[in-house]
Subunit: 131 residues, 2 copies
DNA sequence: TTTATGTATTATATCACTTAATACATTTAG
DNA sequence: CTAAATGTATTAAGTGATATAATACATAAA
């Protein structure tokens, strides 16, 4: 899994997982954690495709999904830009986190762990992490 | 998503997700939480396939994976049985939980949440759950 | 005018998943 | 002994998501 740098972003793609989803997730997390500032210009479709050695259509698909989520806006021939709506970014961040938490807890409960069990496990890990 | 009862197990399959993985996950969680006792006999391949309205090969694939994990054993023409090795079950349960935790934390960190952040979120949910 | 951009279309390829249709050996039940 | 149920194996085919390829067009900036 080679790391590819494009602008301020680092990509590491895993063939075997959908590429457009990985590109999407990379950019999304870059926005969520502020690595990509509001209003930042994304690499052009062709440019990113070239850098990642994937098809432009695959990048387009990721960009379209970013637009659908309200994280990016296409400015015609000027390029694609991260939204300037900080609230939108925060909302997406929250939604994704909520979804991750829900899926995680569901999985843990399937394995027979209760919510307090899970809290305890993570608590311990947190303690071990910062002693 | 219709619920189908087979013996002591309830199945609800979602076309669009790999069927063999769903069958696998259902049985795995049934074992992990003790719903399926040690040494229990699983439905025959044909029987389960018939009940779930899927192909016997698909069930076979799930059963083979259960064997690979050490959760089930094929007893030839007598059927397929859950292992009697309680330690093995517990180990699988632990492994699956550890994997789920790792994946979850990685995802949350991608979204810019630290481990203490996550602990706090789940803590709050736990408090709200049991007031 | 040239260039870079987003966008769209059509075709093809690949791969995982699923179904289908049998077939065989072994064990249990009658 | 016979019949039935079981796990197992094989071969073929179908389906859908994903990805690539090759173009094409309109717009805006240089």
């Amino acid at each position: 899994m080679k790391e590819i740098h494009v602008g301020s972003m680092r990509f590491s793609l895993d063939p075997g997982q959908p590429l457009y989803e990985q590109v999407l997730a990379h950019i999304r997390s870059a926005v969520a954690r502020g690595e990509l500032p509001l209003g930042a210009r994304l690499p052009s479709v062709r440019e990113l495709a070239q850098a990642l050695q994937i098809n432009p259509n695959t990048v387009m698909r990721a960009y379209r999904e970013l637009e659908r989520e309200g994280l990016a806006e296409s400015h015609g021939s000027q390029g694609t830009y991260i939204t300037r709506d900080a609230g939108r970014v925060e909302a997406v961040r929250r939604d994704l986190a909520a979804a991750a938490v829900a899926a995680f807890l569901a999985e843990m409960e399937r394995l027979g762990f209760t919510l307090p069990d899970v809290v305890r496990m993570l608590q311990e890990r947190s303690d071990a992490d910062t002693p």
